[in-house]
C-alpha cells in the first residue's frame, strides 16, 4: 500500500552563503502492506513526522521514490490525496463550530455533494460514538473527545490509507485505550493505518508491524515479536541465597545446555542468557539444587522494543 525507496528530506538553515543542511530523513525504504497498522517508532527528531508529512503530500521530498495507494507521490500528489486521510499531531478544528459541521465540511472538501457529506458525517458520529457532543462547539471538548473527532475527520471520506501523527500523545490511559480500539476497528474494516509514535507500548500493542528509525535512517523493521526475538534470546536473573557461591553457580549453569552464557552482576545476582525462559527456569533450578546451591529469587526478563533499540543504536529509547 505504501512503498518508499531512498526517501530523503533535508532542511537548510542559516543565512545565504553559510547554510548548514540537516538530513531529517536520509534515505528511507519502507514497505507497508494493505490492511495493517504500521508504526514508525523512534525518539524525537528521528524524522518520523517529516516522513509522515512527505507521504501525506504535505512536504515535497528532496529525493527517492514513493508510491502511496498505487499513485506516485512525487509526480501525482493530487491522486495520492484522493486515497488518504491525515490527522496532524495537534489535530485541527475551529473552536466555534461543531464536530458535525466540521465533518460535513471535510467530506465536502473531499468533493462529496452536500447530502452525501451529511450522510457521511452522521455515519461518522455513530461509528465514533460522538453523538453526545457532536452538536456542541469544538471548544468544549475534552482531549480524548477532540482526538476522536480528529480521527473521524481523517476518515470521513473513507480513505484507503490513514496517516496518524502521534495519535495518543497527551491522552490519559483510558482515552488512549479507547483510541487504540478505534484504530484497530478501522484496520479490521480494511484500512491501512500508518502512524508515528515514541511510545514503546503503543508500538508493541497496537502496531502489526513497525519500523524503528533514528537520525533519519531505518534501524529495524518487522513485527514487534520478530524484532524482540532478534535480540539474542531471553534473560533469566537468579539470586543465590549465599552470595559467595555465585561464581560457583555460574560455573555450574554455564555447563547446562539451555544456558548460553552466565555472568555475575555487580549486585551479586546471576544474569543468564537463554533461548526460551519458560523451559530454562526449571532446569536452572534443578541444576542449582543438584550442586547444593540454594536459590533465593529467579526472574524472567523478556526483551522489549527498547532492548531492540538499545542493541541497534547503543542508546535507550526511553532516555533519548
Amino acid at each position: 500500500m505504501i512503498e518508499t525507496s531512498g526517501l530523503r528530506k533535508s532542511y537548510r538553515s542559516g543565512r545565504r552563503g553559510r547554510t548548514t543542511t540537516v538530513d531529517a530523513v536520509a534515505g528511507l525504504d519502507l514497505h507497508v502492506a494493505e490492511g495493517e497498522i504500521f508504526g514508525l517508532l523512534g525518539p524525537n527528531g528521528a524524522g518520523k513526522t517529516t516522513t509522515l508529512r512527505m507521504l501525506a503530500t504535505l512536504l515535497p521530498p528532496d529525493g527517492g521514490a514513493a508510491t502511496v495507494a498505487g499513485a506516485d507521490l512525487l509526480t501525482r500528489p493530487a491522486e495520492v490525496r484522493r486515497s488518504i486521510g491525515y490527522v496532524a499531531q495537534g489535530g485541527g478544528t475551529w473552536d466555534e463550530v461543531t464536530a458535525r459541521e466540521e465533518l460535513v465540511l471535510q467530506a465536502r472538501m473531499h468533493g462529496l455533494a452536500k447530502a452525501e457529506a451529511q450522510a457521511r458525517a452522521a455515519a461518522a458520529v455513530d461509528s465514533f460514538d460522538l453523538a453526545e457532543y457532536a452538536d456542541r462547539p469544538c471548544r468544549s471538548y475534552s482531549g480524548g473527545q477532540r482526538r476522536r473527532v480528529d480521527i473521524a475527520l481523517g476518515v470521513v471520506h473513507r480513505p484507503a490509507v490513514l496517516f496518524l501523527d502521534e495519535p495518543t500523545s497527551g491522552l490519559d490511559p483510558a482515552a488512549r485505550a479507547r483510541l487504540w480500539a478505534e484504530v484497530r476497528r478501522l484496520r479490521d474494516a480494511g484500512m491501512t493505518v500508518f502512524l508515528t509514535t515514541h511510545y514503546l507500548d503503543e508500538a508493541d500493542a497496537l502496531c502489526d508491524r513497525i519500523a524503528i528509525v533514528d537520525g533519519g535512517t531505518l534501524v529495524a523493521e518487522g513485527t514487534p515479536a520478530e524484532l524482540k526475538r532478534s535480540i539474542a534470546g531471553e534473560v533469566v536473573t537468579v539470586g543465590v541465597a549465599e552470595p559467595h557461591l555465585a561464581p560457583k553457580a555460574a560455573e555450574v549453569l554455564t555447563a547446562q545446555e539451555c544456558v548460553r552464557s552466565a555472568e555475575v552482576r555487580a549486585d551479586g545476582a546471576l544474569r543468564l542468557s537463554v533461548d526460551t525462559g519458560e523451559s530454562a527456569m526449571p532446569q536452572v533450578m534443578r541444576a542449582l539444587a543438584g550442586a547444593g546451591i540454594a536459590t533465593a529469587t529467579i526472574a524472567l526478563h523478556r526483551p522489549t522494543l527498547d532492548d531492540v533499540f538499545l542493541a541497534r543504536t547503543g542508546r535507550s529509547l526511553e532516555e533519548s
Binding site: 491525515y86 495537534g90 478544528t93 466555534e96 465540511l105 472538501m109 473531499h110
Partner: protein, 254 residues
C-alpha cells in the same frame, strides 16, 4: 467550476465563523465610529479648503475617505487570522484534501468583503443624521469600489502572512505599510493641505485615486471621470493582489 464550488464552501465556513463571534465585526467598526464623532468636527475648518461650508459638507467629504481607510486598514490585518489558522491545524486539514488552493484564498477574501460591507453600512447609517446624503445607485458603485479595495488589502495581508509566517513581523510590516498608504490617500487629512511634492507622491498611490472617486460618488457625481478611473484602477490592483497571493497560497499550501 470546482474552484467556484470550493470558494463557496470556504466562504460559507468563514461566514459561519463570523456569525458565531459577531463581536469581532463590531469591534472593528468601533474606531471609525469614534473618529466620526470626535475627529470629523475638528476637520471642518481644514475641509473648508475643499469646499465644505457646513458640518454636513464636512461629513460628505470625510465619510467616503474613512470608508476607504476602513477597507484598507481592516483588510491589511486579516493575515493574523490566517496565521492563527495555520497554527491550529485547520489549514493543514484542508491541504490534504483535493480542495482548490485558490478557493482557500478567495473564500476568505470574500468573507472579508462581507465584513467590510456590514461595517460600512453601520458607518453610513450613523452618518446620515449628521448630514450624509447619497443616492442608491451611487452607493452601489461605492460598495463596488470598497469591495475591490477590501479584496486587495486582504489578499495582500494573506500573502504577507504566508511569506513572513510570524505575527510579530507581520504586525510591524502591516503598520509600516498601512500608515503611509493612508496618509498619502488623504483619507483622514485632506491632501489639499499638502505641499505639492507630497501631492505628486500621492498620485502614485492607487488608494488616493480611490478616495477621490469615492468622494465624487458621495457628492452625487457618478459621471465624474474620477469614478470610472478609480474603479478601473482598483480592479486592476485587486486582480494583481489576488494573483500574487494565490501564487503564495499555491506554493506554501501546496
Amino acid at each position: 467550476m470546482k474552484s467556484l464550488r470550493d470558494t463557496w464552501l470556504v466562504f460559507q465556513r468563514h461566514l459561519l465563523l463570523m456569525a458565531r463571534s459577531p463581536l469581532q465585526i463590531f469591534l472593528g467598526v468601533a474606531q471609525p465610529v469614534v473618529y466620526l464623532a470626535l475627529f470629523a468636527p475638528l476637520l471642518k475648518p481644514a475641509l473648508a479648503s475643499m469646499g465644505a461650508g457646513t458640518m454636513a459638507d464636512a461629513y460628505r467629504i470625510y465619510v467616503p475617505g474613512m470608508l476607504v481607510a476602513l477597507a484598507l486598514g481592516g483588510g491589511l490585518y486579516v493575515g493574523f487570522g490566517l496565521l492563527a489558522e495555520l497554527g491550529s491545524g485547520v489549514i493543514e486539514r484542508a491541504r490534504v484534501t483535493p480542495v482548490s488552493r485558490v478557493a482557500l484564498l478567495l473564500g476568505r477574501s470574500l468573507r472579508d468583503v462581507v465584513v467590510l460591507a456590514v461595517q460600512a453600512a453601520v458607518i453610513i447609517v450613523l452618518a446620515i443624521p449628521l448630514g450624509l446624503l447619497v443616492r442608491v445607485p451611487d452607493l452601489l458603485l461605492a460598495y463596488l469600489l470598497l469591495a475591490l479595495i477590501s479584496l486587495t488589502s486582504s489578499a495582500v495581508s494573506y500573502g504577507l502572512a504566508l511569506k513572513v509566517g510570524n505575527p510579530d513581523v507581520l504586525g510591524q510590516l502591516v503598520n509600516n505599510l498601512a500608515q503611509p498608504l493612508m496618509l498619502l490617500s488623504g483619507t483622514l487629512l485632506p491632501l489639499a493641505l499638502a505641499p505639492l511634492w507630497l501631492r505628486r507622491v500621492s498620485d502614485w498611490n492607487p488608494f488616493s485615486w480611490a478616495v477621490t472617486g469615492m468622494r465624487e460618488l458621495f457628492a452625487g457625481h457618478p459621471g465624474d471621470p474620477a469614478v470610472w478611473r478609480s474603479l478601473a484602477l482598483m480592479a486592476a490592483v485587486a486582480v494583481a493582489a489576488l494573483l500574487w497571493s494565490a501564487r503564495r497560497f499555491a506554493r506554501t499550501v501546496r
